[in-house]
Subunit: 721 residues, 2 copies
Amino acid sequence: METKRGGFTLPGEAGYEKLTLELCRKWGADCIRDSDGTTLSDEIISSGIPIYSTLCMVRSVNEYAKAHPEHLQRNFLMSDPVMAEGDTAEIFPLKKYFREQITVCPDDDVKEFWEVWDRTAGVLVPADSWEWDPERECVTVSGCAPYHLYTVSFLCCRIWEEISMYNHITNGWGDREHLMAVEPRYPEVQKVLLSFLDEWCTSHPATKVVRFTSMFYNFTWIWGADERERTIYTDWGSYDFSVNPVSLREFEREYGYRMTAEDFINNGKRCATHNPPTKKYRDWMEFTGKFVREFGRKCVDIVHSHGKLAYVFYDDTWIGVEPWGEHFEDFGFDGLIKCVFNAFEARLCAGAKVGTHELRLHPYLFPTGLRGEPTFAPGGHPEADARRYWACVRRALLRVKIDRIGLGGYISLVEPFPEFCGEVERIADEFRTLRALHEAGAPWSTGIRVAVLQSWGSLRTWNCSGHMHEHPELPLNHIYEAMAGQPFEVRALSFSEVAERGVPGDIDVIINAGREGDAWSGGEAWDDARLLEAISTFCARGGGVIGVGEPSARRGGFRHFRMGDMMGVDRETGETICFEKYRYEIRPHFITEETKSAPRFHNHTAGVYALGADTDVLLDGEDGIVAAAKRYGKGRGVYLSGFTYGSENARLLYRAILWAAEKEELADVYMTDSAEFECAYYPASGKLVIINNAPQAGRVTVKTPRGDVTAEIAGEGVAII
Amino acid sequence: METKRGGFTLPGEAGYEKLTLELCRKWGADCIRDSDGTTLSDEIISSGIPIYSTLCMVRSVNEYAKAHPEHLQRNFLMSDPVMAEGDTAEIFPLKKYFREQITVCPDDDVKEFWEVWDRTAGVLVPADSWEWDPERECVTVSGCAPYHLYTVSFLCCRIWEEISMYNHITNGWGDREHLMAVEPRYPEVQKVLLSFLDEWCTSHPATKVVRFTSMFYNFTWIWGADERERTIYTDWGSYDFSVNPVSLREFEREYGYRMTAEDFINNGKRCATHNPPTKKYRDWMEFTGKFVREFGRKCVDIVHSHGKLAYVFYDDTWIGVEPWGEHFEDFGFDGLIKCVFNAFEARLCAGAKVGTHELRLHPYLFPTGLRGEPTFAPGGHPEADARRYWACVRRALLRVKIDRIGLGGYISLVEPFPEFCGEVERIADEFRTLRALHEAGAPWSTGIRVAVLQSWGSLRTWNCSGHMHEHPELPLNHIYEAMAGQPFEVRALSFSEVAERGVPGDIDVIINAGREGDAWSGGEAWDDARLLEAISTFCARGGGVIGVGEPSARRGGFRHFRMGDMMGVDRETGETICFEKYRYEIRPHFITEETKSAPRFHNHTAGVYALGADTDVLLDGEDGIVAAAKRYGKGRGVYLSGFTYGSENARLLYRAILWAAEKEELADVYMTDSAEFECAYYPASGKLVIINNAPQAGRVTVKTPRGDVTAEIAGEGVAII
């Protein structure tokens, strides 16, 4: 395997110039970046190597923020419920929140924005029945119904930007200044930010790439006062932080109605990305997305006017920047950088319509990892971490082209870890080799076009909300991870577009994977009969339908799993316990031909039963069916009771998709004889790349149209033949 | 313990006169009965011992039934769904059913009663778009939407009475005539039945008690054509079999609207007792119940006019005869006989407003038991079975008075089992001893009044639908079983009566135990805000609330468990995964003081979490909280994630009820030091009765106001001190 330069971004660090430049050579880096907490010295900047500079604008004007607390970002929060013992109730809405993050802006008109709800009766309390005492930070509600529970929804003002807060507290930064996020909806703030950016560009002539981190609104992250509930709420995708007096009023002018506190508070459950959005919430997202793009474009234009490139980091302050969103190109970004733990994140990055696709690999060059385990610290094995993360992400790189990789953090930390430096050198070479194969021509693919059917459509392609480790319970995260390394073309379709326009003609297989009522399963989207009609028609005419977990689950219809007749199963929710269930026997099947034992899905759905003799039950357990298949008209349906990513399960899914697409013959094409190995064939180069995803070495045989190919591959290694 | 005569009903059998009379003496029987399959000889009838005769009227006039198939009973059934490949679909609605049970009556107007549904779109197909071909037994639907699923709902005619069918097939009765159930709504049938009954009474002068089995409509029991789905549907409480052309038309005249097939078919899910009833279905029950009572009263009057007593057997053909129904007394029955597997069935019987309460004990004198295991056959141990069943039922008899017990079946079978005969002698003596204690005066009770909150109110007190062994998954069945042996006064309240009138002033503790959406948890009953308001008020003012499983679960409110704030917990359904859950520690508590290890509830609900610091979490497991408690205003709430009856779990529930009622001090009153033992104190007699519910002997100490009492008690034995 040949080593080349390029496609690698290295974090530099003042005081470690020699190391920086040495590793720059060793790893073939063609770019040096700063990181949160590091600066670049003049020696590095003037080394002639292009410089990436990170910039999070909304927390970059702290002097202005301190002088203008009324221009800080806001969002709606709800108090804990308080029971009215008599006809009044006192509620201290801020009580449960972390006061270093949350306060109330005295300038806000509480009667305009706040709401008091009687949660027992489910009714809004008239505004003249309560008063806010800013001194006591107390809302007094009068005319209460005794023993009812009352809550206050209030517009809070956030006085510590969340990423600054997290890094500060986690790393014990002591007296270091708390950064605050300003609200760019205020024209004064926009002026300040644009002028800051322009001056910044002028004062950083060596910077070739401005890497935005990211735009203006962080994912929602609310902290609690109680250590036992430190993180009250975290949602990678929610638009809560874009709420403020200006936007609420402007929205009303534009859409003709006012978004109220309850539109965000939603009975205390908020509007998480994992739940189907309301029409109002979608309006709010559209409204906010448009603003982020328009003001974001102004920022990008300034960067361009200085002859620099504008990249965006898909992380943290990324609301409205969704790379698969319909209007992402409008920003005019030159590149997208995605930090990756998993293969599906690499597919997310690779598919975005932008010039340069870059991955930020793990481990970060920090002393400790995500869960506090040692990385670049005594006891750490960063070389093993790097190899493991790379093996995980590499699966996707067999299928799609990525332009660049890189690292982040403190380069100084790697010095005592020469094995890590060697590992990264190997990884960088392997990356460039794969990239070169893609550049020569696309790899062989099954040609099967898979659509994931969910509430958000293309906006949330190749991810649910955030990373796998945040919500490993979601089967769709695992389905994405499995497919990320497989030769399928994957896109997302929303329930509403399918209901309105039917399944597009170029889709072979539809996957619906979620839990009853969630955004991934669909919930009330299934009340629109056109949706089931469209899916049934698609399937009956020859399409494949795969349901996972509680797909299409919705109470009140003919089946609890609305797609049940296609999959041959339904779930016992307690409503049909008087029906005896069909007594099936397990049948051998193409899908389970390589399955050694019933897969363990950690998110298995209990109580799934067969609809009748036409259902092929493939796998089951004590508490119901695990896998089933059925023919439906000219099409096919498959059911899996859950899904956990792993080699064997990924293979099971691969075969399920082949079967659903009626492409069983492809099971003999570029298929490894062991699920731990995967491969890709690049016709233009005539090369077969085989990867070993397991830590132990092994022997593998690949079926190809020109006969079997056999190789011995080291643990997490690769063979190119 | 003294032996007395009386309170015992013995099954006699022609040809075994000596044995019959001998056992009559041995067991102290004061009555001889016939059974299904046995007759009494003249020698027995003229022995001077009073005779019970069993009578199931609707299947007693088979000659008439054969001559008048148009007067057989009907009900609605649904075909399997059929996909329309083109614009027509052919559906054979009878195909999936057992044709010896199900047919179609040619006299019925199919267009008046039948319905064809497009289940994909959820719409009714106009009657002029389909035709029934009785020759082919096929419905042809035209104008179909391609690929939609269609079903036919049809009025079937049942040609084999279900109990006759079951006994016939199970016992291999070969050529024996199939009995058919006539429909008493037809005036002609009423005339035939009343005249039959009158003649029967005349021709049976020795009969002292006519035991109706029971009235006119069997519980719903639908059989399938496929051996792998032999029993398609069984519901002990549903009113399906009271549907027929006459009743449908009469209902329309009376209520002003027509009940359609879909009102019973309900999207193919039918209207099982375990689901919350619709208003229409309740109307139908009221309408049918009134008829059953009115025509039943006529039958009872005939029996009385012959100087005989009328008892009713609560089993099989019992629809409309609910003993806790508001109007049960209107029948004018002299006695109620309940076959009992479990203690809660004894409480159900004891509480009915009727003169005589009699229990039919198990085992029945049949060669084999319910699951085909040998009873009075080689390998059987009927004496052990009798002891086990008795120990199970006896718990209830410590708390409430039962007037009579008895057996059923073939007395001839007991001859080779002298140990059984001895065991029954002992049981009969024990029964009479307990009865005498009750007659002297009621036992000590906690005085705590518990209300079970569910959809049906008093109609279904002390049971859900049928026996424990039919639906052991229901936590409420197990809660009933535990409470049946405990010194509480138990009644049932419906959601609607509580919503309308609040919790009655004489209730101390409310229990809601069920699964999301079922009749026991409440489902949409919780959409009526008055319900939560009433329960909250009750609790805040000092009442106790116990939730089990998925109590008060309803999507779309402030809490998924609507009573969550009282219990301190809620359930993660996937809707709130972005909220971090409060990190509790297990706290010691009065309720769990005697709990040795986390109880295993076989119907445990996963994913239950604590709402905050005010929640006392008492027990938990890997997948969530198992038991929790919370103070709420002046009241208290308790949560259990499920419930399985067993000694330790029963004790846990006992303590939970004491705590919820704020009666912790009663834990030291008539409490045994081991959960396997229970006791009752009878102040009027000054007697303490201690029972050992376990099969092994043991030593027990009982705390009493006059000091500790200790006893050694044999396995399943009793001590009276």
